[in-house]
Amino acid sequence: MQRFDVSSEKFEVFDNCELKYYHADRFKTSILKLSVALPSDNDPKSTAMFSLMINLLKSGTEKYPEKADIIKRLNDLYDATCSIGGYASGDNRIFEISSEMLSDRFADSESIFEGICELMYQMLFKPFLDSDRRFYKDRVEREKNTIIDRIKSEKNNSREYAFKRCREIMCDGEPYGQSVKPRLISRISQKQISDYYIAFVKELKLEFSYVGDKDASEVISVLKKHFSGAYTPSDKALLPLSARSAGKIKYVEEELDIKQGVLIIGMRTGILLDDELSCAMCVFNNIYGGTFSSRLFKLIREKMSMCYYMSSDYVSTKGLMFVSCGIDVNNREIVQNTIIAELDRLKSEPVTREELEVAKKLAIKELNDITDYPNAIASFYFSRSIYGIALTINEFIEKVSKVSAVDIQRIANKIAPDTVFFLKGTGADNGEDLYE
């Protein structure tokens, strides 16, 4: 049962710009998100430009020309955060500036909320440009190096690297499968990235989300003060949610000089965020590999002792599921076969009543937990509202509570493995220790 009111309200800030508002005075912090959802053009060059633009927007503004100036400003606003990022949602792209700040009731002089709104406006609409309205060349080159260095470092985290590779291979040709390529980053010129930015901010579909203790009228008033007239509203439609079918399974292996192997199996479920089985999918995931009491965890870790971590994760905007584990390279075949065999069992045999009830309880607990975290509240509503899905947390819980064993079997029978990626550890000792 939900103890706190969990419905968000919608307000129009100005033409074609909505505020999703959630009043909560039980927190000491507030969240403000500025989001731009746009269709991805599935062009790797555009993906590279998007990534570089984000870095440049973080690097300085008219009023705060250096990164250090932005950080100092945030420090002065009682250590508020203000991060700019981008991520994939289905075949669309989300640009987001997200801030977590203390409530103004802790501020002694200026309003923290007002300061953050001003900073967000500066970061998006007033980046640090030269007199020709271009990013400075040395800054462009520096941020290109930053991105390339970041990509180089991805292999340092073998699990995340393996997941990225599986996603790239599985979704090759789809926007979700794209990653930023260093060679494309290095070719971007000062003119190209500046033109890209100008085009980006020319027409925007802006949306705000707020979770905190301020009245809606005050939030709207401050947002209007800073953002009215700053841009032209866009009516570009997002690409609808779509799922591809699995074809012949792709097996790909890469080697890395590490001890442990990382196995990632990407599966196509065909179940998207707006599907009637979407809410049931989180119950399925809990049964299959998503919790400590799931089948894969109990079998491969607890019974077979073949892994330390084992998980399955569902990507609702693409209808994908990824099973991942770190294993000894010699156990790859047996673990891989076990993962597939367990899926087959779920297709042919109904789950037990106890298994189903436990999975539902854990799913409901996770949903209940959302209301304890302002950021989780904002993310929950935004991720659905851009696809026109008006589902409250309570409604989601209601649907989960009604999931049946038949639903679980139906879901299992929709799922097909698509890609098996194995990052094979070559098992060498980690080099030489050299003491000086």
Partner: protein
């Protein structure tokens, strides 16, 4: 509520209750109106507690590395064959545990209400009831073997560990918390039972509960599992005398990384031993390290403009009863050039002192971070545990922070950042 003492902080508008159970177990109950509540049942048995005198035989016992962590895994088994994860899952609760240098914590989160108290009952029951067999120990060696491999493949983890090993010659913080394949092979059921008997006594533990909970009900559940006449005998471990200077000034290793990475450690050998003196020192170190290495600071800005650092430093401090250090790490294509720049900058600020505005800004950041923490039941419970282990009170931190002066920070700067007490740990590409 008669038995509980109330602690409150009017600035934060927060309060909690504490009671020392007849067994010696301190119980903290922190009411917080949230959907979810959490409970932590922790023991002061971590990776550094590896040597003691057996009270029955008087024999000196040296434990194999990784045993505290191994025990943490094994506590999830019980004699009935039920898995503890399953027991909690049936309540819709999410259990977990971790082991650090100086403690092991078992915890769960659960939707507030009756299920929470059922979960608390299970938590106290399973942690108090060890069950180890040859078969289950052998099985766990396989699982932890995979965890060890995962840690050994993590260059950030290795870089940090070698930094600690460079600072400390004898202090057992230099042992890997997870141990090694060889060390965990020495673990037996008898040894695990011995450790449980010694370190899992209520007087060596703490229970922290945060959420929509009632203190009296927590006490009722505790009384079911913890006897007031529990053993209160010696739980001390023997810690070796440690040198003041860093053991090794430079440690280099090669791993499968694309770019060099580094971790610089500063050994605080002169940290006071009294709890509040030590806590004050820790906060001062936090301020100092932040001022020097933050992304808004002069050093990072200059390194970024020179393209020497393209990602921010990561930095922090670790203070326990027997160890104290500050550290900073990151990635850089030319670590030698970077170290030269860092040394030059530190020489400059030691001469001129850190600026008052930077000092005050850092205090503001810590103050704000402390307030934000009170939104999360998990963060509150963790912070309460940390303050208990450091023998201070959580609510004293704001005043402690306020009392710190620029002069104290500049004095610490001269003491803490000293070449002879510094280790440079580097990981180079193969």
């Amino acid at each position: 509520m008669n038995k509980f003492t109330e602690y409150s902080n009017t600035l934060l508008s927060e309060k909690y209750y504490k009671f020392i159970h007849g067994s010696g177990l301190p119980i903290f109950v922190y009411p917080k109106e949230r959907q979810s509540s959490c409970a932590i049942f922790a023991t002061e048995f971590g990776s550094i507690n590896n040597r003691f005198y057996d009270i029955n035989t008087g024999k000196l016992i040296d434990l194999p590395d990784g045993i505290a962590h191994f025990m943490e895994h094994k506590m999830f088994d019980n004699e009935n064959g039920d898995n503890v994860d399953d027991i909690f899952s049936r309540l819709g609760a999410d259990p977990n545990a971790y082991t650090s240098w100086d403690h092991t914590a078992y915890f769960f989160t659960c939707t507030s209400g009756e299920s929470f108290y059922e979960g608390l009952d299970k938590l106290l029951s399973f942690v108090s009831s060890p069950y180890f067999t040859e078969e289950s120990v052998a099985k766990e060696q396989g699982i932890i073997g995979q965890e060890i491999a995962m840690c050994e493949d993590d260059p950030y983890d290795r870089c940090f560990l070698e930094m600690v090993r460079g600072l400390y010659e004898k202090n057992p913080v230099r042992a890997d918390v997870v141990g090694s394949v060889d060390s965990i092979a020495q673990i037996t059921p008898a040894l695990l039972y011995q450790c449980h008997e010694r370190f899992y006594k209520p007087c060596n533990m703490a229970l922290i509960v945060c959420g929509d909970v009632e203190a009296e009900r927590v006490l009722m559940v505790t009384d079911k599992h913890i006897s007031a006449s529990s053993d209160k005998t010696d739980t001390r471990t023997i810690l070796p005398k440690e040198r003041i200077m860093a053991y090794k000034r430079r440690v280099t290793q090669k791993m499968a990384v694309e770019r060099p990475m580094f971790c610089i450690g500063f050994k605080d050998s002169k940290a006071p031993t009294d709890p509040y003196g030590r806590r004050k020192r820790q906060i001062l170190t936090e301020i100092l390290i932040g001022v020097i290495f933050s992304s808004s600071g002069e050093l990072y800005s200059s390194l970024f403009k020179k393209n020497l650092m393209t990602t921010p430093f990561n930095y922090g401090e670790e203070y326990g009863k027997s160890y104290a250090l500050g550290y900073v790490g990151g990635e850089c294509d030319d670590v030698e050039l970077l170290f030269g720049e860092i040394k030059k900058y530190i020489k400059k600020i030691k001469k001129n002192g850190i600026k008052k505005e930077d000092f005050e800004r850092r205090k503001k950041i810590i103050f704000s971070s402390d307030i934000k923490m009170y939104d999360s039941t998990w963060e509150i419970a963790s912070a309460l545990l940390d303050s208990y282990l450091s023998e201070t009170d959580l609510f004293d931190d704001p005043e402690l922070l306020k009392s710190l002066t620029l002069e104290e920070a500049n004095d610490l700067l001269k003491e803490l950042i000293c070449e002879k007490r510094t280790t440079y740990s580097v990981v180079l590409p193969n």
